[in-house]
Symmetry: C2
């Protein structure tokens, strides 16, 4: 197994206490590696970082238009959201327009990731339902597509259901990877997730924003989703989350989406670039920091001031319970 | 930097999704490496894994006897507890016997780590206080020692306070490492934490249980704490925690204590062995699994059935929100 480099350090006092290895790829629309570190050919599970790819059929089939999706709805359909009231209400409204409710969702239940939100629910005596699942927006999009095409909605999370087959076909088209049973796992929300090389995921996002090596309709659908996420980052993530911080800073020049187990994918639309990264050990604290560093690298020449701001976002001070500074998480500067 | 080996895999479907590198040492009372992997000479922060070492002055000074510490109190004094009501009440009772209350604690506040416990507090309209801090038992022990010796209690978390100087002297004695400002960081509960080699921490625990290369009084104090933790693992950890699972399985033949950022230390008292491990990236899921594998390795020859049971504990099935099995966390079998 190729050794990936250390890309993120976590310090305590003057020492490195822990460190994270990983790989990243920045790719253009022709599939050229603009920058990389580590093994970008090894298949990795993208998890939620490719929700834009999985959302493309919602737009391509006309379901989004048929059910009056606003940009904020499209962002939610690409979201790993924090289960805040605005997320839950928007997902419920989408389902309602398709004649469905939360009972149609097959993503399972979990408490909102944001502690204050969970505590507020506890105070009100509420329990989580599938609308609180961070994937409920994506699943609402899946259901709308099935309803629009007259498909059976039950079982839409199964690998053989047309909803998942369409999503897989889009990912194969965009990544150029063959996604067979050998690279298939079950995701947290019960849909299949397929491992493919980081370089392929980065190229897929580059295709969408460069409109190279992809059909015009697919690029249009993908760009609509990416633009919706950049315009409405809260709907795609939540209060205080890394994706929101990145897109707030990026000012519609950066799209970025996290995935479980230390993955991040994204795009620089104006530059026609896509990127993908994975932390070997799956740590989100490290992928959050490395995403900022990779974006800084991608912006370095074209947008030096914005790149410097992302270099700042790649470092995070750590404090203890008495608010005493104990160290920091810091991605390596990538030049 | 020496490359540590992959010791823990996290799978999804048939594939390894993420993996964790690290190092471990099993050492006897003479300081001989019985088994190891990776760099065991590199200094690492032990964090809470050496609370037994930090608790030794509580016993050695006579403070524990003066304030009528039962074995369960000694276990709490070595704890990273989950803030459950029984932990909080016991810490409050210890402080009360020393004429103090929670306002004397300088560890800071955080919500209990166990979600149900935090939710119960929210339902009752409560907020966390320093007694809920996972370190409140250790800090109560620090305070009792200071009171017993007639020292100023305020500022007991400072590196120059006698409480912390005694703790440092014990760790230097047991590890054989010089702990200067160059290896000092601030811990989550605001006391100093000192980095030293894994081999030294493992040897320190081996000294206590083998009674070799250590004064009789120090060994007696250390054994009293270790035996208290093995007899009362819940007080040292909490419901569902890895330390409790390990000590429940070990049946007083195994002592083990976790530390933040992927550390575990422990001892096999009957075999006169100590161990220490650190996951490079700091992941607790990996150190929990590796601790079981290291204990299995240490027990392999003397207690093959118990070793096999710990091999089982070194693997944990992962399920998603619909309770579908998605993969597992599995430490490598160590032979």
């Amino acid at each position: 197994m190729m050794e990936n480099p250390v890309l993120v350090d976590v310090t305590r006092g003057e020492r490195v206490e822990s460190f994270h290895r990983g790989a990243f790829a920045i790719v253009d629309g022709d599939g050229r590696l603009v920058a990389s570190a580590g093994d970008v050919e090894q298949p990795v599970f993208p998890r939620s970082a490719v929700k834009v790819f999985q959302g493309i059929p919602l737009v391509e089939t006309g379901a989004a238009a048929a059910f009056a999706f606003e940009p904020a709805d499209l962002s939610l359909a690409c979201a790993s959201h924090s289960g805040e009231p605005g997320h839950v209400e928007r997902a419920a409204a989408i389902l309602d327009r398709a004649g469905l409710d939360r009972h149609a969702l097959e993503c399972g239940c979990h408490w909102p990731s944001r502690q204050e939100v969970a505590f507020d629910m506890v105070r009100r005596g509420e329990e989580p339902n599938p609308l609180h699942n961070n994937c409920s927006g994506k699943h609402s999009g899946f259901l709308c597509t099935a309803v629009h095409l007259g498909e059976e909605t039950r079982g839409y999370v199964g690998a053989d259901h047309p909803v998942q087959r369409r999503a897989k076909a889009v990912i194969e088209d965009l990544t150029g990877a063959a996604l067979g049973p050998d690279v298939c796992g079950t995701d947290g929300c019960s849909i299949p997730t397929y491992a493919a090389p980081l370089k392929g995921f980065a190229h897929g996002f580059a295709k969408l924003v460069s409109m190279k090596n992809v059909s015009a309709d697919r690029a249009k659908a993908g760009r609509a989703l990416i633009e919706a996420c950049m315009a409405h980052p809260w709907e795609m993530s939540g209060t205080g989350r890394a994706c929101q911080a990145i897109m707030d800073l990026g000012g519609r020049k950066v799209f970025a989406k996290t995935g479980a187990e230390g993955v991040f994918c994204g795009a620089l639309p104006d530059l026609g670039l896509g990127f993908a990264l994975k932390i070997d050990d799956g740590a989100g604290r490290a992928s959050d920091a490395l995403a900022a560093a990779v974006i800084a690298r991608a912006l370095r020449d074209a947008e030096p001031d914005l790149a410097a701001a992302f270099d700042g976002l790649a470092r995070k001070t750590l404090s203890n319970w008495n608010k005493i500074e104990t160290g920091e998480i810091r991605a390596k500067r990538l030049d």
